[in-house]
């Protein structure tokens, strides 16, 4: 069954090619069926592969299928090969599974759009690229997928290209990602230089077999470079700025690409290279630090945003920060686990918000919503599940994964990580319930036009919501402490480390067995605290937020304007580059200096010629004069020359 793995890639590619070439001439339903069918088949094959993998004994769960030699030049070799192991299988299941649901959802959501076929072509292409990313067996192939998902993200953010903001956001996303890719590419080169191969299996086994000392300089540089790529793709400080803007794309895209799958590629990559990262304590500190700071930073911005999708975007950044925090402290399983649960509930939340937006004919500002729970009950119910899940209330999925990360950050990391994480969790609970209350509770603040068209979404949109709600509820049980299925499943990839036993039981350390249970209580309490505060502020005393905003106007403004990071980047990088390029490099160096000197030489020659031209008066007598002069010289030369 594992041999079927290539089919997983093939179906979405065919779907994309089909819709891309003749989709325009097909009927809308068929376009949707083709796209969903492709992903559905892909999901089905993924399940088969998953089963096939389960049938193998845990140590042998690594399968490589080599397709063809892609680049070979001297000792540099990159083979197009697919690698099936627990990690990639988990990823393809998430990608195709969530992807399938989002495809179905899109049929309803994008129904009125003119670029219907284009949309599904891109979406299929994205799925293909993402699957390539997670299935690749070497760094360079992964880089293809890495860039290709970036491309699809570019295309889909800029899907409504007529909107200036959308195309700007698309470009920003691509360019910022490129900055990260710059690091990734250099990382790959350094890997090649160090290991003489870029194959995952070979590199990682070389790394884990002790050829390198822990803290080796080269490995630190490699991992930092790779992490640079991850910060770009997974929207971490300092390269996160593209993700909020990416919400200009259609909402299902935000759900699929900018919440569930693509943005987690960075986490996937770090987990994939865990053997390398474990060798570099410094990088691990950087990863954990950036993850923690991002989690808090983004959550704090999320507190005051009014655009429903932007809140979710900052939430995504924040949650990704959690995942990096987990990776950074070495709890890779927790990272992957949170990746998975996050994919469920964040996809659910985005699709839910999409449903809201759909119901309100495109309104995204939460200040113009309110009291929607009676009008769109299914959306409300599923959204509630998602919100509770992300806030971290047991027994929803988010609770288990987030709790595990917090626990690990305390156990493996230190108190600072934990407190940052806990504060971010508090913020998360607060802003998510703020969002919920502002959207679905309270009085309706809809404008007239939107209120008239208010309607629940069609079945093909609510069905994925329901399924995702179910996953958000049950997904957490895959990783309940003590009997974690996911831990067990991933352990061959993570080879010992990153695999968490109950700390007290495993090592008999100083924390004691009571710690996990205490932590559960604490994190639940934090979440409940956030929820209560939100309830207090937005249901009980709706005037309070305004007062607070006035009271702390400086902080409020700072948060509302996202710490002015975009403006700072503009002032620091974008404008100077443009200015220098245009004014100095082009107009001065190129035109004035280089071309000027070239033309100057030409002018010099011409000037000299002009002087010589004066000899050419046009007067015959003048010419005759020179002739005679010449004759005299010739005679003198002939007579006296010798």
């Amino acid at each position: 069954m594992l041999n079927l793995v290539a089919l997983i890639l093939l179906f979405p590619l065919i779907g994309a090619a089909f819709n891309g070439t003749i989709g325009k001439r097909l009927r809308k339903e068929n376009v949707g069926y083709i796209a969903c069918g492709a992903i559905g088949l892909s999901f089905f094959v993924s399940l088969l592969v998953f089963c096939g993998l389960l049938l193998l004994p845990p140590e042998e769960r690594l399968f490589e299928k080599q397709l063809f030699c892609w680049i070979e030049s001297g000792s540099f070799k990159s083979v197009v090969g697919l690698q099936v192991d627990p990690l990639s299988t988990l990823m393809i299941l998430v990608v195709t599974g969530v992807g399938f649901l989002i495809h179905i959802y899109s049929i309803g959501y994008m129904h009125h759009d003119k670029g219907y076929h284009r949309y599904f072509c891109y979406l299929n292409l994205f799925t293909f690229s993402m699957l390539l990313l997670v299935l690749s067996n070497n760094f360079l192939l992964m880089f293809i997928g890495w860039e290709a998902v970036g491309l699809c993200s570019y295309l889909l953010i800029g899907f409504w290209f007529e909107k200036k903001s959308a195309s700007n956001a698309a470009k920003k996303a691509f360019v910022v990602n490129r900055v990260g890719d710059f690091g990734f590419a250099l990382g790959i080169m350094l890997i090649f230089l160090t290991f003489h191969t870029i194959d995952f299996t070979e590199v990682l086994s070389a790394a884990s077999h002790g050829n390198f000392e822990a803290g080796s300089f080269t490995i630190t540089i490699i991992t930092l470079l790779l992490f640079m790529g991850a910060t770009g793709k997974s929207a971490q400080i300092p390269l996160y700025t593209w993700l909020p803007d990416a919400m200009e794309g259609p909402t299902p895209v935000s759900a699929l690409i900018h919440a569930a799958t693509m943005v987690t590629a960075g986490v996937y990559m770090i987990v994939r290279c865990n053997a390398l990262y474990m060798l570099s304590p410094f990088t691990m500190i950087v990863v954990a630090g950036i993850g923690a700071v991002t989690a808090l930073f983004a959550a704090s911005i999320g507190l005051v945003q009014n655009d429903i999708k932007r809140v979710l975007a900052y939430s995504t950044i924040s949650q990704l920060g959690y995942m990096f925090l987990a990776c950074g402290v070495g709890a890779f399983t927790a990272g992957v686990f949170h990746l998975m649960t996050h994919a469920f509930f964040k996809a659910l939340l985005f699709l839910g918000s999409g449903s809201v937006i759909h119901a309100l004919s495109g309104e995204q500002d939460m200040r113009k919503m309110g009291g929607l729970r009676h009008h769109i009950p299914t959306t409300y119910k599923t959204f509630l599940v998602g919100t509770v899940a992300i806030a971290g209330i047991p027994p929803f999925a988010g609770f288990f994964s987030k709790d595990e990360i917090l626990l690990e950050s305390l156990v493996r990391g230190n108190f600072i990580y934990w407190s940052i994480g806990a504060l971010a969790a508090f913020f998360t609970a607060f802003y998510m319930f703020r969002l919920l209350f502002m959207t679905f509770h309270g009085e309706s603040r809809l404008d007239h036009h939107a209120a008239e068209h208010l309607h629940e979404s069609p079945r093909n949109m609510t069905l994925p919501l329901t399924v995702l709600a179910g996953l958000s509820f049950f997904g957490g049980f895959l990783g309940i402490p003590g009997a974690s299925a996911i831990n067990h499943f991933l352990s061959p990839v993570l080879g010992g480390h990153g695999h968490t036993e109950i700390p007290g039981a495993a090592s008999g350390g100083h924390h004691g067995a009571w710690l996990p249970y205490l932590m559960m209580v604490v994190s639940t309490a934090i979440a409940l605290g956030g929820i209560f505060l939100a309830y207090h502020m937005y249901i009980k005393k709706p005037a309070l937020p305004k007062k607070l905003a006035e009271r702390f106007s400086l902080i409020y403004k700072l948060l509302l304007n996202k710490y002015y990071v975009d403006e700072i980047y503009d002032a620091l990088f974008v404008h100077p580059t443009k200015k220098i390029s245009a004014q100095i490099l082009w107009k001065l160096v190129d035109v004035k200096m280089i071309d000027g000197s070239v033309n100057g030489i030409a002018r010099l020659v011409r000037g000299f010629g002009n002087v010589l031209r004066l000899l050419q008066t046009g007067y015959i007598r003048n010419y005759a004069f020179y002739i005679v002069l010449g004759c005299i010289f010739i005679i003198v030369f002939a007579v006296f020359g010798k």
Binding site: T617, F625, V628, I635, V636
Partner: protein, 169 residues
């Protein structure tokens, strides 16, 4: 006797040449040129080239210079024709250069660089046969080809002159 004759004729030749180049009126210029040519014809006779002397007078002084005069009269040129002088500064250098040229040529003459081999046509030999007859002989035997080419040249020149002079082609 010959010496005096040479100096007298040479003086006349040079003086009329000088007049030619400084004379404002072209008609007078032409007359001075004729004077020069006649003097040169005298020198030819002194050099015992009677045929050439005759041709000099007939063709040069007679035909060519008459043509010049015709044209001068035809164009009705007067002194004012030379009103525009674009190169006034060239006058003195030109004269100086003329002197230089003369000096150089003089040095060449003096340095006896020019040598030639003596031929059989001594004065006695020529006189025994007659200058004209000898030239005729040579022209139509040894120098026939250049002679014929000369005729073509004249023919072409005649056509060319007619073509140029015609108002409309």
């Amino acid at each position: 006797m010959e010496v005096y004759l040479f100096y007298i004729v040479a003086t006349i030749t040079v003086v009329s040449g000088v007049y030619l180049i400084f004379e404002k009126n072209p008609v007078f210029g032409a007359l001075y040129l004729i004077q020069t040519m006649v003097s040169i014809a005298v020198l030819y006779i002194l050099l015992e080239a009677q045929f050439v002397a005759a041709v000099q007078i007939i063709v040069y002084a007679g035909a060519i210079m008459v043509l010049f005069l015709f044209v001068i009269m035809l164009l009705n040129l007067d002194i004012k024709e030379e009103a525009k002088n674009a190169l006034p500064f060239q006058r003195i250098p030109a004269i100086l250069m003329g002197i230089a040229l003369f000096t150089v040529i003089g040095i060449v003459i003096k340095s006896k660089l020019m040598q030639g081999k003596h031929d059989q046509y001594t004065t006695a030999y020529v006189n025994s046969m007659g200058n004209t007859k000898l030239i005729g002989n040579l022209l139509f035997t040894e120098y026939l080809l250049p002679f014929e080419i000369t005729s073509i040249l004249l023919f072409v020149a005649a056509i060319g002159a007619i073509m140029l002079a015609k108002r409309k082609l």
